[in-house]
Symmetry: D2
């Protein structure tokens, strides 16, 4: 139906998160209405992303090293990890950068972060916590936690006192939290999880029993 | 469009919670398909409701006094208030009976209840907590809390150590909780609220900042 | 969880169309708040339904014979079938009374009706149209069209020139329409179906191909 | 919150149809995970769009002139307008290219097209059809129909016998259709509109009265 150039671009946009072929084709027709200057603006912004944006060596957050001033020129760490006012005894583990941004927006957290970049699915019931650091031979499912080695290295830092596991309270997040707790336990660090309860706007009548139990236990 | 008998019943069903005229008319056509025995079964079940079901003098939960055995024959208190294994030092304030049922389903709460039967809307900013028990002259808005006097009487009982305000974390619930805290404070009782946080199935990315702040503060 | 009287009524309301146990229990708590007069009003309205409302002998629409005046005292036919201004050469076949009401609301149709009271599911591919009137031995699926004999009797009336099959354009409606067309054909009557096309508020972009084809073919 | 390069790209993606800032930021994090080759593939596909794709001089459909063969080298007309098997006596007016694609997918239409590129909002009641071609001084609202002059020119072609106005049956589409009918009338061409009715999957009970009236009138 579509010409090759258009179809090619529809295919590429269809890989974008949440986008199907219908919306992808609307993107293409939108681009067809843009003028040359606007198209250039978009493509150069995409290309600059790879050039300008790095991942922090410590927490894997994306950041843009300032090039001119030289102030942040060493450029290995993001602005959060470099901030001397941040509490370095706290690490908050999140699945992805948008979760980190959500937490930053609360302006209530002053510690550091670590972006896991993935979660594991439900673990087998007969799963045994590893007695050593996960080896190369670990289950394929656990490979989704591709930064687990880097996390274990970083957590060895004696400055770190508490590790907040801030994963989504869904099946995968719970399975991953359980795995992380078991794996981090031998290192003698305190691990915590986000509090459960009713969200703002929630109603008792529609809350699941687990959430309501947590809300009762966590009353204050 | 409809005949008078049908229209009359559509009007009555339209007053049922969540029901509009379209669903009300589907109810009527459903009833038209029932046979005489089934119709009798429904109307006598409705009539028995008023005859058999009472509201508990202590907590206002509906209950059905057992008539035959004489065991519960005194019939003034519901099965929860009568249960000797319940912890009488705890009272959980809820808006309505369905909220009580939700909490009972968790099987985690062993105290007693009090059904407020209503909530107040947003209070004015310059609201001053009453120095005495709310008098007859209180604001019309507060009349929605029609059992407030009964609550204050009940709470005087020295057995009661903690009052859990288990209202929905929505604007009305929050305003009512604030009012109750201020009103109960002079009685020297501990008041608590349900814990806030992410519900099961929630996601950090879509959580509001208030909920996420509570989840961080309530970590454990 | 609920007392027997309440649970009994929840069970009965759960059989109402579109109602699940949660809404059913909200109905019961709503009824508990009504006073005795209001309860009586509801139950007597339900009981009067069976007493006052009849099904029309001709079209199966519900109607209420006027008792006082004697005008409609014979009371076998609904107000539509009795109306001398109605065009008796047209019969519109609908599945249920709410569909009849929808058509009446358009004020565009002046013929008569016949309420089938059911539809059949997908017919087998090797289905052969009956050469005679459907006999007692017909497939169980076809028993859902329990008024098919009455329809065939009625349609024999030479006054009737056109039969409009006004079934929902969904799989069951289509299968039933096909069955009716085949069954009515030997009687030499003209059968028609509702026009297909884009509804008000529809969009070409989201229309299925069949609907859009009909809209193109039916352009005017 | 975001670095300048990221924020810039979020802003650009937020202009894409249906995309808000949240999804736009998910797009950026998706791009950050792509490797250099994949980024190049995307940007060059976007750039090729402007180079390779033209708008048809006759119907404004996008198309890609074949460069190699020379067959379509003149490259002024899209593949539909060039197709000798197409019925040139029919023009179908659509709002946008996705609507054209929807119609092509039905494989039921063999005429040509004209993409209007916009619709007008509700016209004033006292609107008078222009006695001449719309002049420069026409109402600002009508400027949204920016190709109206080109349409009027094209429609003068004596080959054209019927103009199908295939606009969405929503308020804007109806107003535009009315305007087009009045404007095209002096040219003595037959104009038609898409048939209205119940779509596949629709139900009489939930159909609006206008749609149901059309379905009754358009029965066949």
């Amino acid at each position: 139906m579509h010409s090759p150039t258009i179809q090619k671009l529809i295919n590429l946009f269809s890989k974008f998160p949440t986008i199907g072929p219908r919306t992808a084709s609307r993107f293409v027709f939108y681009l067809l209405r843009l003028n040359e200057r606007e198209i250039k603006e978009l493509t150069s912004a995409i290309l600059k992303l790879k050039e300008n944006v790095k991942l922090c060596k410590l927490c894997y957050k994306s950041f843009e090293p300032s090039t001119s001033s030289g102030q942040k020129a060493e450029g290995e760490l993001c602005e959060i990890c470099q901030d001397p006012r941040r509490d370095k005894s706290l690490i908050c583990l999140v699945e992805k950068e948008t979760d980190l941004i959500s937490i930053e927006k609360t302006r209530k957290y002053q510690g550091l972060y670590f972006i896991l970049g993935g979660t594991v699915s439900v673990l087998k019931k007969d799963y045994n916590p590893p007695t050593t650091l996960p080896s190369k031979g670990r289950a394929p499912e656990l490979k989704k936690l591709r930064r687990i080695q880097e996390l274990l290295e970083r957590v060895k830092n004696p400055e770190i006192k508490e590790i907040i596991i801030a994963l989504n309270p869904i099946t995968e997040g719970e399975a991953t939290a359980l795995y992380l707790e078991r794996t981090l336990k031998p290192l003698g660090k305190k691990t915590t999880r986000l509090g459960r309860g009713l969200p703002f706007g929630g109603e008792l009548e529609y809350a699941d029993e687990e959430t309501l139990s947590s809300a009762l236990e966590g009353r204050k």
